[in-house]
């Protein structure tokens, strides 16, 4: 009897999860006022995997960087930046927003008390790929294959989000020109 109940519960849970995932996808499109363009569903199905929180970890030279991570930890992994710029913070907090410029990419921070935290990572140079293999110079068709169809199009940006964190690709003439990770929770 217990076994039957367990099977029924599993089936119901699975059905609930599937329908819940469906709701999420359609909601995210509706919120864009109908301007969302989705990458072909066929391509997404082909890939068999979508966008998950794990895709929001940026990997550069084998070092993992997370959004909202303490910049001092990032510096210990990446070493000193080529240039550092700072401006009075735009985030309603005391302190400075900073830009750490490296070869091919930049890390942006916001002040959280005494700590500078990563708010954005922008990759403009070739040779730095996302964990799923998209880099500057990749074709836009590869994006859907790797990340699925739950995408939002804003101008020339294709964005994938989980909560207040996003990964986005700036695409021009069918080619990725820039990759951007950002945190919108400040």
């Amino acid at each position: 009897m217990k076994k039957h109940v367990a099977i029924i519960l599993s089936v119901l849970t699975l059905a609930g999860a599937v329908s819940f995932a469906g709701c999420g996808a359609s909601d995210s499109k509706a919120s864009d006022g109908g301007n969302t363009s989705a990458v072909s569903q066929t391509e997404a199905k082909k890939s068999g995997d979508g966008f998950t929180e794990a895709d929001l970890t940026c990997e550069i030279n084998g070092k993992k960087i997370d959004l909202n991570e303490d910049m001092s930890e990032v510096l210990s992994k990446l070493g000193d930046a080529k240039n550092v710029y700072s401006e009075a913070s735009c985030h309603g907090t005391e302190g400075e927003d900073k830009t750490y410029e490296y070869d091919g990419f930049s890390v942006f921070t916001y002040p959280d008390g005494e700590i500078d935290r990563v708010i954005e990572i922008t990759i403009k140079g070739e040779g730095i790929a996302t964990p799923k293999g998209i880099s500057v110079g990749s074709k836009d068709s590869e994006i859907g294959e790797k990340y699925g169809d739950d995408v939002q199009k804003t101008g020339k940006y294709l964005s994938y989000s989980v909560g207040d964190k996003s990964l986005q690709f700036f695409v021009e003439d069918g080619v990725v020109k820039e990759i951007d990770y950002y945190f919108d929770g400040v």
């Binding site: 006022g33 309603g92 804003t154 929770g185």
Partner: protein, 378 residues
């Protein structure tokens, strides 16, 4: 009997002395004596019914608009009744206080406060205190505290309770205490609340202002923000206010801040639903003459070059479309506003000289006593 009366009067004198000292300490020493206090206190120094346009909002307001320049160019008097990271929760209180002390031709409310990515900024204690700590204790403030129901209302009523340990950092933390006293003895401040930074910002992210121009897509506001906005608009409607205009000041838009642009579209719809106008200068930034590459000191704030262009544009527009007209001032008030215009010109020239030398500084009313600044006065 005489001895008892004498003892009573001695005790009373002692108590009054303690009370007076406490209030004095609370007013000038054991308090937050920053630019917010200087600006808010300055608002109450303005002569009654002498201000044509009161601007309410957050840092965009005190960096982007220059009342001294608006007076010089258009003869219009204005005041920046704005505080750092201003919360939508205090906007009604600011309007109430404005109406109590002034009869402005126009109240311009910048609504950055409802566009944050989440609702936590709205209820952040510091953001509320930037304003409320510096307001006089009156019925409006008490009613606001009644609605807010803070955990420690006594700290709002007697801020010395909150700031009693500031003495540990005296004199460093006294910041603008001297400036505030100087303003009070003069009867007005010169810069009417301006705070800006001597810097020309070069954005390192891709600019998306042009993508916003024709974009009508909307993103929903956060639930608390929308509720607070609707309450504010209902208050203005119930009061029958015809002289309130809502606005979005210019910002550099990048992908990370693009959603705010779409939320601003939603704000426009909500504002119009209640019968008010919404002027979105971020979307129409080109018309203002503001240049993304030269006129900002960071993503969200105009530098003095942008400030001057924007002040000129927006004042002209308000005069053309919203009945703003040159002030009819008495001799003393005219003298005060000529001084304000002179000080703004000096502020602009001094800031310009620092930018050209590559010196970055935040400049507020505190600068007006500095010898290097005074060289630029006529």
């Amino acid at each position: 009997m005489k001895a008892r009366l004498l003892r009573f009067s001695k005790v009373l004198t002692l108590l009054l002395a303690v009370l007076f000292s406490t209030l004095l300490l609370q007013e000038y020493v054991l308090c937050s004596t920053d630019h917010n206090r200087e600006r808010v206190k300055g608002f109450y120094l303005e002569d009654k019914d002498s201000v044509d346009v009161v601007l309410i909002g957050a840092s965009e307001v005190y960096s982007d608009f220059a009342p001294g320049y608006a007076y010089e160019r258009h003869g219009v008097t204005g005041y920046l009744f704005a505080t750092e990271a201003n919360s939508i929760l205090t906007t009604k209180l600011q309007i109430q206080e404005t109406l109590k002390h002034q009869s402005p031709k126009l109240i311009l409310v910048e609504l950055n406060s409802v566009l944050y990515a989440n609702d936590k900024n709205q209820a952040k204690e510091a953001n509320i205190r930037h304003l409320v700590d510096h307001l006089p204790l009156n019925a409006n403030k008490l009613a606001f505290l009644g609605e807010l129901s803070p955990e420690h209302p006594e700290e709002y009523l007697m801020p010395i309770i909150k700031y009693h340990d500031v003495w540990k950092n005296i004199p460093q933390d006294m910041e603008l205490a001297g400036t505030i006293i100087a303003n009070q003895s003069r009867g007005y401040n010169y810069l009417k609340g301006i705070k800006n930074e001597t810097h020309v910002f070069k954005a390192r992210q891709r600019n998306m202002n042009d993508d916003l121009v024709d974009r009508d897509a909307k993103k929903p506001l956060n639930p608390d923000s929308e509720r607070s906005l609707r309450e504010l608009l209902q208050f203005c409607k119930d009061k029958g206010l015809k002289n309130v205009v809502f606005t979005r000041f210019p910002h550099i838009v990048v992908r990370r801040t693009f959603d705010r642009g779409e939320r601003a579209n939603a704000v426009g719809d909500i504002v119009r639903e209640y019968g008010f106008d919404y002027l979105n200068f971020e979307r129409d930034m080109k018309k203002t003459g503001v240049d993304v590459s030269e006129d900002f000191y960071n993503l969200d704030h105009l530098n003095i070059y942008g400030q001057r262009k924007f002040t000129d544009y927006v004042t002209g527009l308000l005069m053309k479309n919203y009945g703003l007209s040159p002030s009819d001032l008495g001799d003393a008030e005219q003298r005060e506003w000529r001084e304000a215009a002179d000080h703004y010109r000096a502020y602009y020239d001094y800031s310009d000289s620092l930018i050209k030398k590559g010196v970055r500084r935040e400049l507020d009313e505190g600068v007006v006593t500095e010898p290097d600044f005074r060289k630029f006065l006529p």
